[in-house]
């Protein structure tokens, strides 16, 4: 038993190492211009965000739709803290250089991004987590919108630059030049590793109990609010870090893009990967990003095969095909890619674990 456990651990570590090597290798081979590299970067960022959302929706059973709001907080925290002093006057062109007159390093700023998002979550959680099911969904969605409105508020423009773009902060490509994929994989890997540790601890078990049956969980002495709040804060922390990474990936930042449709996209990734499966979310993120940003892009431009103009191809067709695929998954493959199992659990016998989705 123990030997098999060790073998599994070594195998997992080798697997992770292989993924890192592959990421590094692809970037070295195809150069930073290649679309593969873009997909790897954005896919990894979305993987973290999807896993953080899965922690709530898949592991605690809280239908929360506030992820975009917490990402927004994280992304802004990171950007505001890291814009170089020399560029502040230009970025905050309408606000005399802004209020914040210092910069911090990339890693401290990312941690701050997570922490501030977590503080927001802790405050929001107090009222909101008392709500059940779809009311929670709509309330968290509402809070995300409120956060967006506040960030765009002119009065705190010197802090957030109002509705204008934030730019010139350190981005993925200039933090570790030539090794951007490795950097983002490292950060995301550490974060997902932490989430996995929590999920597999006694606290993670308590969270899964809440998902399965709130009333029974409470009768077993599990404090619902306390554990929900904990999961909400943890999830938001990593959503905040994910937001910071997204800001780094994008190179510029505007509150306007953090709309509820962003949360919906992440939710769909989680569902495609399988609610309650971390590895599913990761796989689905890469597939989702690769499909939407890369593989299906050809659908957006007119194509001539010989003299024949392929019908239907026009800007926007990509997203139509893509959303049809998503609907097929939602309707006919409800368990998603992984169901609620993990990649490393495949082949391990564990009862007949079928037919469940919550």
């Amino acid at each position: 038993m123990k030997e098999r456990k060790n073998a599994r651990l070594i195998l997992s570590l080798l697997g992770v190492a292989a993924i890192y090597f592959l990421g590094w290798f692809i970037e070295q081979r195809s150069g930073s211009k290649s679309m593969v590299v873009t997909v790897l970067q954005k896919g990894a960022v979305y993987a973290l965000i999807a896993v953080s959302m899965n922690l709530l929706n898949g592991f605690v059973g809280l239908f929360s739709l506030g992820q975009a709001g917490f990402m927004l907080v994280g992304a802004y925290t990171y950007a505001i803290l890291t814009i170089p002093m020399a560029k502040r006057a230009a970025v905050y062109q309408y606000y005399d250089g802004g209020w914040v007159q210092f910069t911090v390093g990339v890693i401290p700023a990312m941690i701050a991004a997570g922490l501030i998002a977590a503080v927001f979550a802790a405050l929001i959680g107090i009222p909101v987590l008392r709500l059940k099911g779809d009311y929670l969904a709509i309330a968290t969605l509402g809070f995300a919108e409120i956060i967006r409105a506040i960030v765009q508020w002119d009065t705190i423009g010197p802090l957030t630059n109002g509705s204008n773009l934030l730019k010139t902060y350190p981005t993925l490509k200039n933090i570790m030049p030539g090794n951007s994929v490795l950097f983002v994989f490292l950060v995301v890997g550490v974060c997902i590793g932490l989430i996995l540790l929590i999920i597999n601890s006694t606290y993670g078990r308590a969270m899964k109990a809440i998902r399965d049956d709130e009333i029974a969980a409470e009768a077993m002495g599990i404090n619902l609010f306390h554990h929900k709040q904990m999961a909400f804060v943890i999830s938001s922390f990593f959503a905040g870090v994910g937001g910071a990474l997204l800001a780094m990936y994008q190179g510029s930042l505007q509150a306007n893009s953090f709309k509820s449709s962003m949360t919906y996209e992440i939710l769909l990734i989680v569902v495609i990967g399988g609610l309650g499966s971390v590895s599913g979310s990761v796989i689905a993120s890469f597939l989702f990003i690769a499909a939407s940003e890369w593989w299906l892009r050809f659908l957006d431009s007119e194509m001539l095969v010989g003299d024949f103009k392929v019908p239907l191809l026009a800007p926007g067709f990509r997203m139509v095909v893509f959303s049809v695929v998503i609907m097929v998954v939602v309707l006919f493959f409800r368990r998603g890619i992984m169901g609620d199992r993990e990649l490393w659990e495949i082949g391990r016998r564990r009862g007949a674990k079928g037919g469940r989705i919550q």
């Binding site: 930073s32 211009k33 290649s34 679309m35 873009t38 954005k42 560029k87 230009a90 970025v91 062109q93 309408y94 765009q152 002119d154 109002g162 509705s163 204008n164 773009l165 730019k167 010139t168 981005t171 490509k173 200039n174 990936y249 994008q250 190179g251 510029s252 505007q254 509150a255 306007n256 893009s257 597939l287 690769a290 499909a291 940003e293 890369w294 593989w295 299906l296 892009r297 050809f298 957006d300 431009s301 800007p315 926007g316 006919f332 493959f333």
Partner: protein
């Protein structure tokens, strides 16, 4: 079923591996053809396409190359702009043209800078496009200039109190609004500022406020969607003061909204169809003929053959790119980037040379009036700023 999906996915992975033809130079067109700025973006693309149809080849190092336009839709959104830009970069373009809308340009700028691909902004007027990006150049005037021009013009119309209305979350409008306010207050005018949120439908209250505040001019740089509503409402209220805005309002949407109504709508823009210059006149007639030949193109131009300023700018942008390529004598983006600052090109919108920020030295704006009777823009005057 699952196997089938796996197969489909596998096939999709193979598709993007298209072959690169020899002797082709790619110019990226980074424009919105959908979204809020889709209409303007399409007109800009038309100018570029027309220029490409006139000059489809270029000779570099003694060899003739075909110039291929790679058009990518940035959907007028800053987050989508990033991936659109990446897609362009991954297709090995030598230089990029666009985008209509400063927000998308600023968002894409980073990608171009990191990939070392120079980009030429065509109608993006926010100063930060070039200021915060070393790989962005631009061939049009800037918002501080445009804001000042309109403030001056407002003053000339006899206004002392201006009402400025912009949309929250829109880089272009908010920026231009601020420059107008700065300039107008400097000229001794008084300003009342208000914002509206995305999706606002009823502007009655805003215009009421303007009237109540005693404004004698309204400056409302915003997307044409809202512009149409504002004009509509202004006509309904029978306001007497003129409505002013920036370059986005030079659009058939505005003409339609103003047609047959008792409103005075002015906007500043980059180019006038009835320009007397030989180059401009030739462009206008050629472009109109080209539009009329091709039904698709005409639809993209809004169904008529009115020459938009952004089309003229697009035309110039393409030729500036060719000039830079020729000067570099290479398709290598780095070489093009090096050659760009030295380009001196006289196009249909005037002479283009770049200053140290990468901005064209342009000191003239055209002010146009949306004539409600004819449903066309009347040229009012050219306006420059002296300081």
């Amino acid at each position: 079923m699952k196997k089938l999906i796996a197969l489909v996915l596998a096939v999709m992975m193979l598709v993007p591996a298209f072959a690169l033809a020899d002797n082709v130079i790619r110019i990226g067109v980074f424009e919105p053809s959908t979204g809020d700025n889709g209409a303007g973006g399409k007109q800009e693309i038309l100018g570029i396409e027309y220029a490409n149809s006139l000059a489809p080849t270029i000779t570099l190092g003694g060899e003739e190359y075909q110039v291929e336009l790679v058009i990518e839709d940035n959907q007028s959104l800053t987050d989508k702009a990033v991936s659109a830009a990446q897609s362009l970069v991954s297709k090995d373009v030598s230089v990029v043209l666009g985008s209509y809308g400063s927000g998308a340009s600023m968002a894409g700028g980073d990608v171009f800078a990191e990939a070392g691909v120079p980009a030429i902004g065509i109608s993006c007027t926010n100063p930060n496009v070039t200021l915060l990006c070393d790989y962005y150049w631009r061939i049009c005037f800037l918002d501080p200039f445009q804001g000042t021009v309109m403030a001056n013009y407002a003053k000339e119309l006899g206004a002392t109190k201006a009402y400025v209305l912009t949309m929250l979350g829109e880089d272009y409008g908010v920026g231009l609004g601020k420059y107008f306010v700065d300039a107008f207050t400097k000229l001794g005018g008084e300003v009342v500022e208000e914002n509206f949120t995305e999706g606002t439908s009823d502007f009655a209250a805003y215009l009421n406020n303007a009237t109540a505040a005693g404004a004698d001019v309204v400056f409302a740089p915003c997307a044409t969607t809202y512009a149409a509503l504002i004009i509509d409402q202004a006509a309904a209220q029978g306001v007497t003061y003129p409505l002013l805005a920036g370059d986005t309002w030079e659009s058939s949407v505005i003409l339609e909204a103003a047609k047959g109504k008792n409103v005075k709508v002015y906007c500043s823009t980059f180019f006038d169809e009835n320009d007397d210059g030989a180059a401009a006149a030739e462009f206008v007639s050629g472009f109109k003929a080209w539009l009329n030949e091709n039904a698709d193109k005409k639809t993209n131009n809004g169904g008529n053959d009115i020459v938009a300023a952004v089309s003229a700018l697009g035309f110039d942008g393409y030729n500036v790119a060719l000039a830079a390529l020729a000067a570099a004598d290479s398709a290598d983006p780095a070489a093009v980037a090096e050659a760009l600052p030295g380009v001196d090109y006289t196009g249909v919108t005037g002479n283009i040379t770049f200053d140290e920020n990468g901005d064209a030295r342009k000191d003239m704006a055209y002010i146009k009036y949306a004539n409600p009777e004819t449903g066309a823009f009347d040229f009012v005057k050219t306006q420059s700023v002296d300081d």
